[in-house]
């Protein structure tokens, strides 16, 4: 009898451990610490997400570039206002090291996004978002949410909701002004493979 109780307790502990591990594993599919509280200056949580056509993209591979990370959805009106500005700003500042990355939070991005991409003439990579990555970035319930990430991989600014073209441009300039950390991956001259794949 005592032996059975002991086994039962061990099983409960093991199962509890599995539960905790499963949650952690799920969160770490998008690795790095979750953004809580102070966002400015915090390292941008790393993640790997696929593009609409299935190519994996890792955020940390863009280290050395200034990244505008924009969470959006096709059903989001204000997002639709910003997207042509992003396209224009990518062309304007791309040569200076800007990479704009869209993260679609649509329920079925593979169905909804390609047509939208064509209609809106999006020429920067759009990734298939998920709740884990959204949670890493502090939850993105209201869209759009935009993170400006400096060349050093640290967040310069977080903006929730639609803002003016000039405010977006100011955020980009701020991100571009951040020098890249010399000890970081020297990828500033590398092109973002997914970006080129999607751009065409």
């Amino acid at each position: 009898m005592n032996r059975n109780i002991f086994v039962l307790i061990v099983v409960i502990i093991v199962v509890f451990g599995m539960l905790v591990a499963a949650r952690r594993l799920k969160r770490e599919q998008a690795s790095g610490p979750t953004l809580n509280g102070q966002v400015k200056g915090a390292p941008a949580p790393d993640f790997t997400l696929p593009t609409i056509d299935g190519k994996p993209v890792k955020l940390s591979d863009l280290r050395g570039k200034a990244v505008l990370l924009n969470f959006w959805a096709t059903w989001c009106g204000p997002c639709k206002v910003e997207i042509p500005w992003f396209t224009e700003l990518q062309q304007q500042y791309g040569s200076q090291g800007l990479v704009i990355v869209g993260v679609s939070m649509d329920d079925d991005p593979k169905k909804d996004v390609p047509k939208f991409e064509q209609e809106m003439k999006i020429d920067y990579p759009v990734l298939v978002g998920n709740e884990s990555v959204a949670e890493l970035y502090g939850g993105v319930e209201g869209l759009p949410v935009t993170f400006y990430i400096g060349r050093d991989g640290k967040i310069v600014k977080k903006v929730v909701g639609l803002v003016s073209h000039s405010e977006i441009e100011d955020g980009i300039k701020e991100a571009l002004a951040k020098p890249s950390n010399s000890s970081e991956r020297a990828s500033s001259n590398q092109h973002f493979p997914a970006a080129t794949a999607v751009a065409h």
Binding site: V15, W75, C76, G77, P78, F116, E131, E141, G142
Partner: protein, 181 residues
């Protein structure tokens, strides 16, 4: 002891699986529904129902016919008991709205209070009694700067099926007044 052990083990593993399926984002309700009056209907006939919704101040939701096919229309769906069905659902027209920074793009939205009307139909065979109709309004809300994921608000009402209509005795069949001229 062994059956207890097995049950605990099974429940624990199901806990692991369900924890992996849960979504972390909390849903905030931006539309509320007013209590709906009981619908009185006779077997073989229909009666209207009016559902009044309120969009929280500062928010708007797409109308049933939004200006773009990419936008999610507001729509109500019902689960009806046997012998009850819902006929045509009528939605109000949306009000014109534009986001700041994009005054040229006009959207058709609901804000404040709006009502959706529908027809409740009882079959000829519907028994007398009270039925519960359950439904949900699907909507997608925005404020003037941001949009929020699609959500649903439950809507429920009672349908009271009365006696069948008495068979009319045709003493004076309806006549056109012209006949008397």
């Amino acid at each position: 002891m062994r059956p207890v052990f097995a049950v605990v083990l099974a429940l624990s593993f199901s806990g692991v699986l369900s924890a992996q399926d849960t979504l972390p984002l909390a849903k905030v309700q931006r539309v509320t529904v007013a209590p709906v009056s009981t619908v009185q209907v006779r077997p073989g006939s229909s009666a209207p129902v009016r559902m009044t919704f309120r969009v929280m101040p500062g928010f708007h939701i797409n109308s049933n016919k939004p200006s773009s096919e990419l936008l999610i229309p507001t729509a109500v769906k019902f689960e009806v008991p046997n012998d009850i069905s819902i006929g045509k659902v009528e939605y109000p027209a949306g009000k014109e709205y534009s986001f700041s920074f994009s005054p040229g793009e006009k959207l058709a939205v609901y804000s404040g209070e709006f009502a959706v009307k529908a027809l409740v139909i009882a079959t000829k065979e519907a028994p007398r009694g009270r039925f519960r109709v359950r439904g949900a309004l699907k909507y997608q809300a925005c404020d003037n700067r941001a949009c929020y994921p699609p959500a649903t608000v439950p809507v429920e009402f009672n349908v009271s099926v009365g006696k069948p209509a008495p068979k009319s005795v045709r003493r004076n069949p309806a006549q056109s007044p012209h006949i008397h001229k």
